[in-house]
Structures are given as structure tokens and as C-alpha cells.
Symmetry: C2
């Protein structure tokens, strides 16, 4: 029941991009360096986000990634499902139909198993909670809760990166 660490990378990348002006984009390499993670592997995640319509891609020199939608239209759930896939994390093998207590096939297994239902319900509240949090909400909070020196340092690095490529 582990969530892969690329999720952390992906969300950080998206929320960084969400804070940039619309005309700016960052390359996969920039994003990797900024977060101190291996570029080739992060690239995979960025490609996935892009093919799922969360990021936009600009190819060619001075290309890179930017957010494909408004920050208020992208939730943490969108990012998580894009990277991890949207399959349920609990998957019922219908073991109730396997042992000696089982009835003939086609019999009365119309309703899902009570246990599976409970697990899925819990997963639903998890997803709902993540869907409530949009990138725009994070941006709001960042303004008030993060050390301004840190924000400046990050912004400077990005400015320098985007400048030096002109």
C-alpha cells in the first residue's frame, strides 16, 4: 500500500508550473534539477501527465512543459490518477466464490462482497478528499505559509534559467 515517490515529484512539478505566468515553460531537465531528482525518470512522469492532458508540451528549442489547464481545474486526484493509473487500489478476487461455502456459479453473487464494498467506500472518500484540493488552493496557501526568502530563491533560479536561454 505504498504510493510511489514519483507522485511527490509530479505534484511538486505541477504546482511549480501552476505558479508561473502562462507564457513561461520549463524543460524536463529544469524541473528535474529544481527538485533534485533523476531527469530520465522524471521525464516519464511528465510524459504521462502530458498525455493525460494535465501538462502541455512545447517542443523544439525553448520548449518544455507548462500547465494545460487553469490551476483551479487541476486537483491532486487528477495528478495521482494520471501517474498511478485509475484502477482501484483494492482489488477483489472474489474469494467468497472459491471455497466450499460457494454456490454454483451464476448464483446469487450479483451484489459485490460486503468487504469489497467497504474497502471501495473508503477509497472513494480518499479520492473525494484529494479531488477537493486544487493546484490553485496550494498556490494560495503557499503565499501565506511559505518563507518568502524561499519563494524568492526559487523564483530567481527560474528567472535565470528562462533568461539564459534567450
Amino acid at each position: 500500500m505504498k504510493i510511489s515517490s514519483t507522485i511527490e515529484w509530479a505534484i511538486h512539478c505541477c504546482s511549480l508550473l501552476a505558479g508561473l505566468p502562462p507564457e513561461v515553460n520549463l524543460t524536463g531537465k529544469d524541473l528535474a534539477e529544481y527538485h533534485g531528482v533523476p531527469h530520465p525518470y522524471l521525464a516519464k512522469a511528465l510524459q504521462t501527465l502530458s498525455s493525460d492532458g494535465i501538462l502541455m508540451t512545447v517542443s523544439g528549442p525553448r520548449g518544455g512543459y507548462k500547465l494545460a489547464k487553469k490551476p483551479s481545474k487541476v486537483s491532486l486526484l487528477d495528478i495521482v490518477l494520471s501517474i498511478e493509473g485509475s484502477d482501484s487500489c483494492f482489488d477483489c478476487d472474489e474469494i467468497r466464490q472459491k471455497g466450499p461455502g460457494a454456490l454454483e456459479r451464476s448464483a446469487s453473487y450479483k451484489k459485490p462482497c460486503l468487504i469489497a464494498s467497504a474497502m471501495w467506500k473508503a477509497e472513494k472518500v480518499w479520492r473525494d478528499e484529494l479531488d477537493k484540493v486544487k493546484l490553485s488552493d496550494l498556490l494560495e496557501k503557499v503565499k501565506t505559509e511559505v518563507d518568502p526568502r524561499q519563494l524568492k530563491k526559487g523564483a530567481d533560479w527560474i528567472a535565470q534559467r528562462t533568461q539564459s536561454k534567450k
Copy 2:
């Protein structure tokens, strides 16, 4: 983000045991056969449940497992955490402290990262939801929602098993 299938086995075993009279116990082999799963591997899960105080163990001939607490005192969360371990499923590598945007160590990273907070919050609602569901709740619902023929077939098999060992 997959939940291992032994969870399904473990919950089914516990809820089966929860429905039995207090003096009855089932061996690991019985439980494996009943659910059609490999005995040696299921045994591992049963051992874990037992060392976490969810199941009780009776050794020696006519020994086996029974529930260690009242069904109303065991939640799905208890079982899940016992098998999967109680670590958070999202684990934050503090990548915010790694890139060029990071400040000197010891600086202002007292509050957890906003992203990690959001992920943990979602995990909390998931756990809370699972903790609401007790084995006794499942037993209640089983009575009204499961095909009586199925219940009888299972009960007969168990009765035969526990008889033949006398």
C-alpha cells in the same frame, strides 16, 4: 498504490471467525481451504494478526485460531494496518529541501510541506472510514444481504470440520 490481496484473505478469515461461537476455533489449514488460498502463505498473515492481538491462537491438537476480541472491537482498519504495517502510504522525501530553491538546512521547514499535508489528510479520512466498519457491522449485514443457502453451506462445512476432529 496497490493493496495486497492478503488483505482480502485476512478480512474474510476474521469475519468468518467473528461469526463462530466462542469455543470453536479453526486451523490455518481449514481457513485456507475454506477460502481456496495457499495455506503456507495465509499462515503468515494469520500469524501477524495473532501477534497484533486480533486473533487468538490455540496450539496443540484441536487447536487453531479464533478472534481475540469481540467483533465490535475489531475494525477493518485494525486488520489492514496489522497486515500492511501502519506506515503512511504517502511518504514525503522532502524534495522541497533539495533543489536550488531550498534554503540552508535548519531554516524554516518546521511545518510539513503543503502537498504532504494534503496527502496525509486524505489518508486520514480513508483510515477513519475503515475504522468505522467493525466486524460486528459486517455480521449484521451478512444476515440480511447474503443468500441463506450460501450461509448454510458454509456453516455445514465448518460443522463437519469441527466434528470430524473430535
